[in-house]
């Protein structure tokens, strides 16, 4: 397996969207942390559902319903294997990472959070892993504690021990920072947390597509991610939870599918995983996501990591050749995300000009305002690289940035 390497020119042909011109320039797509493009197999899979297979799943007596129900449950198995969950019913399909975090914030909060309790998050978090906990704390009279990071963008691990106390109920942390690319040592965090009987939720939105995930090895209590960031369709996501937690937590949404028996006096809930899947699930999204996972598994997660790491090293050295360049996020362990500013040039100006040169990047605070406050900046330009990006595209980016520099100085 480790011998496997990625044939990028061949792989690029799997992504039809990449073959186009933007503002008369070949598209260079470097906004993968926001969303990834879809391989033809995923597009075809979704197409096939709507052309041949569509039917509402579960409870159907007819052929199409039974067939698609089976495909949906196979998708669940595929996710289970991909993240190495112990049980299939530990995989809940949601609409995405934000939905998954909100679901846990609600369900966990209802059951376990009271006045003066504490939830620990970090300064690196995306707003999606800040605001739900903040709202929960406000509602319950609980407190939010925040673990800081150093100037390289690495969490200060000693702070976890300092912040955990007998009021700590949960730690919510991202596996990889969307703005800086820092890979957090989640295993060490779960070790510290579990020594203190505190569960850990891991926001995997930026890790699922870049490295092999093993939730049993990480030993996290919850792991959440979005399909669209791992080459799957939009509007589909996963909430993994250890069985013992999912058994104990109340449903966060109610309605059809999640019930066992309903009378006007009382409703009893269905078993896992259905207890957490009220209403008609996004089965198209779930099956499409499973197809995307199969696709990247066929490429090899180690090969993906090696290719992206090569791109990161190359891009870092190419950007640093530009005078006045500052890269934010220089952790020892990071993924192929480059957040940067060129001295005296606004990130928005940079992004506007890159766009006209066919280069798609993201500019702004990337939904991490507290992180930007740490550095005392309003935002950055972020180039986030994925499996289909090439060294040639990095060269183009460098040339384009030199042009930007010339225009604005």
């Amino acid at each position: 397996m480790s011998e496997q390497s990625i044939d990028v020119p061949a792989l690029r042909k799997d992504f039809p969207i990449l073959d186009q011109y933007v503002h008369d320039k070949p598209l260079i797509y470097l906004d993968n942390a926001a969303t990834t493009q879809k391989p033809q197999v995923v597009i075809d899979r979704i197409n096939r559902i709507y052309t041949r297979e569509n039917s509402n799943i579960h409870r159907g007596v007819h052929y199409l319903s039974n067939q698609l129900t089976e495909k949906y449950e196979q998708a669940r198995q595929r996710v289970q294997r991909f993240i190495n969950a112990r049980h299939q019913h530990e995989v809940i399909f949601t609409n995405g990472t934000t939905h998954s975090i909100n679901a846990i914030a609600y369900a966990f909060g209802e059951k376990y959070i009271g006045p003066d309790d504490e939830i620990i998050i970090t300064e690196l978090e995306h707003h999606a892993n800040i605001v739900p906990w903040q709202v929960l704390c406000q509602g319950k009279g609980a407190r939010l504690r925040v673990i800081p990071f150093n100037d390289r963008g690495e969490l200060i691990m000693e702070e976890f021990e300092k912040h955990i106390n007998n009021r700590t109920r949960l730690i919510a942390v991202n596996h990889i920072s969307n703005s800086l690319g820092t890979i957090n040592d989640v295993k060490q965090i779960t070790d510290i947390a579990h020594r203190n009987d505190v569960p850990v939720l891991v926001d995997g939105a930026q890790s699922i597509q870049h490295q092999k995930i093993d939730v049993q090895q990480l030993d996290c209590d919850f792991y959440v991610f979005s399909g669209h960031k791992v080459y799957g369709p939009n509007g589909s996501g996963v909430l993994y939870g250890k069985e013992k937690w999912l058994e104990e937590l109340p449903p966060y949404q109610t309605g059809g599918e999640m019930i066992q028996k309903v009378t006007f006096e009382k409703t009893t809930y269905n078993e896992l995983p259905f207890k957490f899947e009220a209403g008609t699930p996004n089965y198209v999204g779930a099956i499409g996501t499973a197809e995307a996972l199969s696709y990247i598994e066929s490429l090899g997660l180690e090969a993906i990591e090696a290719h992206e790491n090569d791109l990161l090293q190359y891009a870092t050295s190419k950007l640093m050749e530009i005078p006045g360049m500052k890269i934010y996020g220089t952790a020892d362990r990071k993924i192929s995300v480059l957040s940067f500013l060129m001295e005296g040039i606004h990130h928005y100006d940079t992004g506007m000009v890159l766009d006209k040169m066919g280069i798609a990047v993201r500019t702004g605070h990337h939904c991490t305002e507290p992180l930007m406050d740490h550095f005392g900046i309003e935002g950055t330009v972020r180039a986030s690289l994925a499996i289909y990006n090439t060294r040639e595209e990095i060269d183009q980016l460098q040339q384009a940035l030199l042009k930007v520099k010339q225009m604005f100085s």
Binding site: Y348, D349, G351, K356, G364, H365, G379, M407
Partner: protein, 141 residues
């Protein structure tokens, strides 16, 4: 110069540019020519916060004319504001309020008008018009 004449002049100016690069370079030039804003006027109230860049807009009546002063931390945004000020500043509030700003479309900056662009152009125009409405009402009392 009337509002229409001014817009026509800008449209003609931009029609000479072959590509976006020339347009952006021109906007950069305009941003440098924009009179510096009094730092005292860079207040929270005068800040139009978009997602991407900060824009400050100050308005005051000089006689029966409304005069605008503005700044931005992003240069292209500042160039766009400079255009808006060229067109609208120093006119009567009633005229500003009713102004049909077709030049934006004509010079190819329409993409910057999409609300998702969040560069504040829509917000800027809204704020300019809101000032015009406010000062017009003041004048009527």
């Amino acid at each position: 110069m009337t509002l229409d004449e001014k817009q026509q002049e800008i449209i003609e100016e931009f029609s000479m540019f072959d590509d976006w690069m020339d347009k952006y370079n021109y906007l950069i030039e305009l941003s440098h020519d924009l009179p510096e804003m009094d730092p005292q006027n860079k207040t929270q109230d005068n800040l139009i916060e978009g997602c991407q860049s900060k824009v400050w807009l100050h308005a005051e009546m000089q006689g029966d004319k409304l005069v605008f002063n503005a700044d931005s931390d992003a240069i292209i945004t500042k160039g766009i504001i400079a255009l808006l000020i060229q067109v609208l500043s120093g006119r009567k509030p009633s005229e500003i309020k009713e102004a049909n700003l077709y030049f934006i479309d004509e010079i190819g900056l329409k993409e910057n008008l999409s609300p998702t662009r969040s560069n504040g152009l829509v917000a800027m125009i809204n704020k300019i018009k809101a000032y015009a409405v406010a000062y017009e009402q003041q004048g009527n009392h």
